[in-house]
């Protein structure tokens, strides 16, 4: 029951926000002092939301799984809406061209996971701890599994 409700809420969030990953954890310090490792970000990805300079976007480089949270510093948009843009972490000296794929100089709409609309500090640390210390993750899963098995539906 708990698992299916959690899943429904998650799927619901994906639909409402339009983003495949509506909640992400900040993994690096490249946006300090605004965001620190372990902070939680809430994203939306509405199709009609234009990408504009100054916005904080979460994107994935083609071929890599890890989402990156940086700020848009340049956009060039054609009349038909096709857009190419450049990003940079606030705390980085240089723009993100070094992070993009080999030969790629710009990001496109398809690379965007979402726009950062809201944020909560520290809350995402749990995910990072589970990643860095797998034993903790297994212990947590074991506890959750035991709870599900032992609980009686009243």
């Amino acid at each position: 029951m708990i698992v299916s409700s959690a899943l429904m809420i998650w799927k619901g969030l994906i639909v409402i926000t339009g983003s495949e990953s509506p909640i992400v954890v900040v993994l690096s310090g490249s946006m300090e002092p605004a965001f620190h490792r372990g902070d939680l970000l809430f994203l939306t990805n509405f199709h009609d939301d234009p990408i504009r300079a100054g916005e904080i976007v979460v994107f994935k480089v083609e071929g890599r799984d890890i989402p990156i949270v940086h700020r848009v510093i340049k956009i060039h948009e054609k009349e038909n809406g096709t857009i190419k843009f450049l990003t940079k972490g606030d705390n980085n000296e240089v723009d993100d061209r070094g992070l993009y794929k080999e030969g790629q100089n710009w990001l496109e709409k398809k690379d965007v996971v979402g726009r950062a609309r809201g944020f909560l500090p520290y809350v995402g640390m749990v995910t990072i701890i589970m990643n860095d210390y797998p034993k903790f993750k297994y212990a947590l899963l074991a506890v959750m599994g035991a709870y599900v098995l032992l609980k009686r539906e009243s």
Partner: protein, 150 residues
């Protein structure tokens, strides 16, 4: 909040060597500006309330070219933490980042608009993007400047 931007400028054409060894020439603009601003009080009152951790201020240039209907380039940015001096008094600032166009649309462009905006970063909550009141239009010259730089 008011700000004043004074410009001196030069356009330049730069060559970029692309990966396939073809040379691409794009316009590179140079802008010098002054900003006088008091960020303490916005439209809705006191900006730095208890839930504001910092402001990310940035000066962006917006313009249209033959190649692209809309271009926006961030020229300068600054992080202002709660507790920092909220008054900006900048003179003779050069743009922090290269003002490259995607093509040759800066030369002779009469309508490049500079605006100061900021991203409010709360201690927790929504991340709004606010545009300051007022903006300045800059015309770029009709010819390239080959001798000057910053």
């Amino acid at each position: 909040m008011r700000y004043v931007v004074r410009i001196t400028y030069v356009t330049h054409e730069r060559e970029i060597m692309r990966k396939d060894n073809l040379v691409e020439r794009s316009d590179l603009g140079f802008i010098t500006f002054d900003i006088t601003a008091d960020i303490l009080n916005g439209k809705n009152g006191f900006i730095f309330d208890w839930n504001v951790k910092q402001l990310f201020l940035y000066l962006s240039a917006e313009y249209s070219t033959k190649n692209n209907a809309l271009n926006q380039v961030v020229l300068w940015d600054k992080i202002m933490l709660r507790g920092d001096n909220p008054r900006l008094f900048l003179k003779d600032m050069k743009s922090k980042y290269f003002f490259f166009d995607d093509g040759n649309g800066l030369k002779g462009n009469r309508n490049v608009t500079l605006t100061l905006s900021w991203n409010v970063v709360p201690n927790a909550g929504i991340l709004p993007l606010v545009t300051g009141s007022g903006h300045v239009s800059v015309p770029f010259p009709d010819t390239y400047e080959t001798t000057k730089s910053y």
